[in-house]
Subunit: 367 residues, 2 copies
């Protein structure tokens, strides 16, 4: 058994100790004589697993009591539809930050379903290398919510502030955040948001599961023509068990939350490790003549670091040699090319050290 260093953008690395625990419990969960996968979601054993996962997440993020935590399915893409279904019941238009491919997809789904979405701020003019500053936000008069993508996984572009969402008429509207690729990377003031959602496959657990954290006064704004499984109210009232949830993924997410609390020591400790990891890689890139990253310094992502080689004819060699050195999945997204190193929570600092050593060596030999 060998574990390589995995820089995949998602589905992404999971902590080795979490996988070891899952492996150990695979056929017989704590003497109950069956796998977690084989348990009724209504059984006392499973309900205890599910409740502990929620409690650990609530503790990690200091989620206030007036927020519900939902464990649902379909990834962030399903939330691109669920958010407007749940928040446009009183009319109005969804307002969006357009900061890269994921923000654009959220806008596209809102337009597909409801005919309209207002772009309140866009980073397109900067080539998606800089997040517009707060004073540039232009909400529509009928804005019902403001949607941001806190970290664009493909562009490696991250917010450096939390926007205030106040309409021209002075009404504050809910801030909605897709945090798929940076949730749990550090502490978070949940109270600034109306809805937070995150696909699990970066910092939480297996692909498919999606977390939603929603302020409970927003459960009454839903359209009536919504598939039942999309309803935050129905999910909240059923404890995320309208039907059988993705029980095994929920269990694995719980193991990750436990790892963050017990092994890492919470999100401040996690943030410090993530800051060191990102600083090492950006320093290597900035000191190099071969590698470069185009993102404005204030918006550089700590989770996804895209970079290009000065001579793209070296790309294939770089990737092949990295792979041979046990540094996996450094290829950039097919839509942008180049390289990308994703440094999620479960990617250890040693992985970044190994990557930096490899990059320096590669530049010396080939740069």
């Amino acid at each position: 058994m060998t574990r390589h260093f995995n820089f995949c953008a998602g589905p992404a690395a999971l902590p080795t100790v979490v996988l070891e625990r899952a492996q150990q419990e695979m056929l017989d969960y704590q003497g109950h004589g069956l796998s977690v996968m084989e348990m009724s979601h209504r059984s006392s054993e499973y309900v205890a697993i599910a409740e502990k996962a929620e409690a650990d997440l609530r503790s990690l993020l200091a989620v206030p009591d007036n927020y519900r935590i939902l464990f649902t399915q379909g990834g962030a893409t399903q939330q691109f539809a669920a958010v407007p279904y749940n928040l446009l019941g009183n009319g109005g238009t969804g307002n969006y930050f357009e900061t890269g491919i994921w923000g654009k997809k959220a806008i596209k789904e809102a337009r597909h379903l409801f005919g309209a979405a207002h772009v309140a701020a866009s980073s397109v003019d900067s080539g998606n290398t800089e997040i517009p500053r707060e004073e540039a936000i232009q909400l529509s008069e009928d804005a019902a919510f403001l949607h941001i993508t806190t970290n664009e996984t493909i562009g490696g572009l991250a917010f450096d502030y939390t926007p205030c969402a106040v309409r021209p008429d002075g009404v504050e509207i809910p801030l909605v955040a897709d945090m798929s690729s940076d949730i749990l990377s550090g502490p978070l003031d949940v109270s600034r948001y109306g809805v937070i959602y995150a696909g699990a496959q970066k910092n939480i657990g297996p692909a498919g599961l999606v977390l939603v954290i929603v302020r409970d006064d927003l459960l009454d704004r839903a359209r009536s023509d919504m598939p039942t499984l999309f309803s935050y109210r129905e999910l909240a009232e059923a404890g995320s068990m309208i039907n059988t949830p993705a029980t095994y993924s929920w269990y694995l997410a719980g193991l990750v939350f436990e790892w963050l609390r017990q092994d890492i020591g919470g999100l401040e400790a996690m943030a410090a490790i993530n800051a060191r990891k990102a600083a090492k890689l950006y320093a290597t890139i900035d000191a190099s003549k071969l590698f470069s990253n185009p993102v404005a310094e204030r918006n550089r992502s700590r989770m996804n670091v895209p970079f290009v080689l000065a001579d793209d004819r070296l790309d294939a060699d770089f990737l092949r040699e990295a792979d041979e050195a046990g540094l996996l999945n450094l290829k950039g997204h097919r839509s942008v090319g180049g390289m990308r190193a994703s440094l999620y929570n479960a990617v250890p600092e040693e992985a970044v050290d190994a990557l930096v050593t490899f990059m320096n060596d590669f530049e010396q030999r080939r740069g």
Copy 2:
């Protein structure tokens, strides 16, 4: 490590050899240095896993070439919405068999979203103990499809024929089947159906994953106001990867398909085993004065066998003693009470033998 006999209705037992294989590959899939959970769904390793799963399923069910197989999410409940979204684009009304709790839920979601659903046949008058015969079907004039639940998991009621769906005007409409709790329990003539769907958590794999098998001429009947992830056409064109699918569940489903092909020897062999298991349990019930099952013989489910005790004050003792004997999850659904033994593919014949021995012993002592 102990493995008990697990009669859970779902999430249900998985084959021990499948869990052992998953356990062995948990941290390092076949020398690639990472878990299947940590792989990009676009990687060549993962695409090979996904394609093999689909090919094995196609082979097991002899799925004709003009049918697409989709691996999606949200369980059967999401399909209660997705089916009418995908099939009502040309207008008309969904027609339904009402044969128990799951059929009713499908009807309820169609009415919620589209205001109407026609009950073409109902087993309510029989107390859900008998499926209406084919001549009793009354399709509406505008019927767009006929939906059946081939096996009602809670009532233990199963179809003993495949309905023809022909409207009063002679037009044949697609037959849609929720096969969540009996798919892969035996051979199936897929060509009789327009759409087949099945939540994974009984005979396929982990909860959350749902399979859809759809005839390709039906991809053009969708409403335009549908969440993108619900679209059979979009899913088919993207190879079920509009966004990141539930990769680990898909992999586990593939291991189950491989087990059915290689270890069991295909669906005819599986059907023979399932027939023996069910016959043993029903024979025990029918020969007993303590236990009884109310379902008409021709509609008795081979997968879910509900039964009651003549004196329900013995229920708690029965369940406690069964549990102590390593016979887990025999409690009936909370909506109907009594007992239920689910005999899915992964429940071995020895489990039924042990259950029958226990029931006979219990009756002798307490009956």
